[in-house]
Point group: C2
Chain length 164, copies 2
């Protein structure tokens, strides 16, 4: 299968990444695209909660555990792939993968920088993978700049860059 394009929404904690991501997913779904999303988590993430049967299977040594219901599938496994390889392995049947975070990966990025989040400066001013900047500040990196509510315009940037 062909690899899906990946774009990452980055920003410091409290900048509003998840909120922007929700709006972009919603907008791009409206436009007819199949969207995969990715969230980074710490190794102890709760998907694999202590004491649950699926956790007991894994603790006993299962290489992979699948939790299935009629409409949902959750797969829990350790594997020796880097983050981008995992995204491609599991989400390559989508039109676009939108990741939240992953600021250190070499992925096209859109940064959210919001004054109210009380961070002094943006993350990606010198990142040549930055393709868009979303802000209520006066920072002006040399990429298209959007206001915090401009999710339709940001979706269009994504569409023009990755989906056309």
């Amino acid at each position: 299968m062909k690899n899906a394009q990946i774009v990452s929404i980055v920003g410091k904690s409290g900048s509003g990444k998840t909120t922007l991501l929700e709006k972009l997913i919603f907008e791009l779904k409206q436009r007819g695209y199949k969207i995969g999303s990715v969230k980074h988590a710490h190794d102890g993430f709760e998907v694999d909660k202590k004491g649950k049967d699926s956790w007991r299977h894994r603790k006993a040594g299962a290489d992979a555990t699948l939790v299935v219901s009629k409409t949902k599938t959750a797969l829990i496994r350790d594997e020796d792939l880097n983050l981008i390889e995992k995204m491609q392995k599991y989400l390559s049947d989508t039109d676009l993968i939108i990741a939240e975070g992953f600021k250190k990966q070499s992925l096209p990025k859109i940064e959210v920088f919001r004054l109210a989040s009380n961070h002094k400066s943006p993350l990606c001013m010198a990142d040549d993978k930055l393709i868009g900047f979303v802000t209520d500040s006066d920072y002006q990196p040399d990429v298209p700049i959007f206001g915090l509510e401009d999710f339709k315009e940001i979706a269009t940037l994504i569409e023009d860059t990755f989906l056309s």
Copy 2:
């Protein structure tokens, strides 16, 4: 990829399915096999917990959401496959898939029936997919019968039936 063999451990609630499954996974791993496990869950299962960022992505319409950490991968998606197709899609790179439950599926089954669980009778006396029966009762279906602690012998039955 070749389909992995599937065996299901069935039994009424409280019969000790998870405990047996843990021991079998542990034992079969010791014998060098790559094991996938499967647990059935209700549609609202917590892997996809309300309010978490991954839940927000999905609620916004993401077709699939991947939660990744350095060593774990969890994939959450709705898909229009039956349970056995899902097991094969995600676990076909293992030597054996051990499922917990799925008594209605047409899968080779090992039933656990424990007197202390206060159920009147076993589930699978008339199931022609029954390949083993694990019990402290006097029921004697026409398949190999094991005691509750005989996990090594049960692992050998599984090995002889599916892995040799």
